[in-house]
Symmetry: C2
Subunit: 253 residues, 2 copies
DNA sequence: GCACAATGAACCATAATATGGAATCTTTGT
DNA sequence: ACAAAGATTCCATATTATGGTTCATTGTGC
């Protein structure tokens, strides 16, 4: 039962979501079976959506997102959409941990933090969005290095703390570990007493497009690293699914 | 009067289009006045659209495109959307002239043709999508040079025909003319007997993002250059409007 | 601080729309 | 030539969407 007086719109919107989010363009039969609507009802609703440029139909009858979506996409900076899509994930990580949560992308050879949810603790971290962080000292940076989105330097790296990895060969081996584990950690490497974990976000194409991570004081982070590592990986994978990434199925030929 | 049995969807879709295509995020009052709907009807429809993630509302009550649009945008190559949006314009130019119509963008230092509508004449031109054309000999290339999207060479240019401009300083002055007139022409510069005109397509940001042009044999093109120049400019400006470009208003402060 | 206007959501009697089974049409396969 | 499948159209009617009215909240002017 729909909210009062919007059943037709609810049904049309359900059809529209199926079309827009489909991995393969669905045909009429799939839309009928997926929604359980009678054929005449589905036909009428789809024709209305097509008339309003919300869906389009190709020559073989398969449905896709219509020109209104293309118009939207052509008018907006994709990073804004990505940030908007990622925001619920950042908030879930924050809700689960209470720590500062960040999203970062590679821009040129730098790590740019594009979104943040602040810590719920009084002892948290700064607003990183305005801070120029050396990538080799941060978990987010290590993820983007490991993915090859920024070139790994061959020179001796800056020692921000005694814990910072400065030898480039050691740093490369460290990135191998990041790849193997599926997440990065930075323990007092940027600042004594500040720890972080981060994991890669994978786009529809299968490539890493961003890193999502959390940070806080060592006293809260250090003893929970395996759990926090798993948590950040899971949330990063969930966000990757929202972006359309289909993880390789086990047992595939 | 709507098509049979889709009035509610028609109304909801009208609201949605207004929101998605608005230059500034509209508030509830604007949507009511723009559509003529009673407040209670508009409120119910907008709540349904919000519930289905087609619109979102910011803290101050202004409406914007919802997460479904962001999800779409994050999953699609923007050039595909741009080509889809441009296709009706190319078809209108083709209908008006019968000549081969192309859309081109700058990729690196090259001109890439991304869409074409073939000539309706038997004597037309080739499928340019697969042809690597020297940019200085083509109307499309001159538009992209003039816009600064590809760097203007300082060396002597390749002479493809006796009409090709090869002196770089003369070529730069020629590009000044292109900017002044608002469209480019290439008369037998790529191939004897082959003429073309092209105009810039401007994105929402105000920058040139593409060139749209037409080409054909000199016998059909040469005598109509002023008309074809005006036509291609008008259609390029219409496409720019679809992309959200707002031309500077005359008499503005 | 108060009166009033503006904004936007909720209510509900009822007008009118959206429904969906059946019929029909078109295309494809045998 | 005929059957099957897919999709659209028709139309009696069940049910929904409508919109005038009311209400709650917020903003503004005095």
């Amino acid at each position: 039962m729909s909210a009062n007086g919007t059943q037709a719109i609810d049904r049309a919107a359900e059809l529209l979501s199926l079309v827009v989010l489909a991995d393969e363009p669905p045909d009429f039969g799939h839309l009928v079976s997926d929604t359980g609507l009678p054929k005449s009802t589905a036909s009428r609703l789809l024709q209305a959506l097509e008339r309003h440029r919300l869906v389009r139909r190709d020559g073989e009858g398969a449905y896709g997102a219509g020109p209104l979506f293309a118009a939207y996409a052509s008018r907006h900076d994709p990073i804004d959409d990505f940030i908007a899509l990622a925001q619920p994930t950042l908030e879930r990580i924050s809700a689960a941990t209470g720590e500062t949560v960040n999203l970062a992308v590679a821009r040129g050879q730098d790590v740019t933090q594009v979104a943040q949810v602040d810590s719920t603790y009084l002892l948290g971290t700064t607003n990183w969005l305005d801070v120029d962080v050396p990538a080799h000292c941060s978990a987010l940076g290590k993820v983007l290095y490991a993915a090859g989105l920024i070139p790994v330097p061959n020179r001796t790296l800056e020692a921000r703390t005694p814990h910072t990895i400065t030898d480039p060969r050691k740093f490369r081996r460290h990135l191998d570990t990041v790849r193997a584990k599926g997440f990065a950690q930075a323990l007092g490497e940027l600042e004594i007493g500040l720890d972080a974990v981060a994991a890669p976000v994978i786009g529809r194409s299968g490539d890493v497009v961003a890193a999502v991570g959390l940070s806080g004081p060592s006293g809260r982070i250090k003893n929970k690293l395996p759990q926090l590592g798993s948590l950040i990986k899971e949330h990063a994978q969930a966000l990757s699914s929202v972006l359309g990434h289909q993880p390789r199925k086990e047992g595939a030929a």
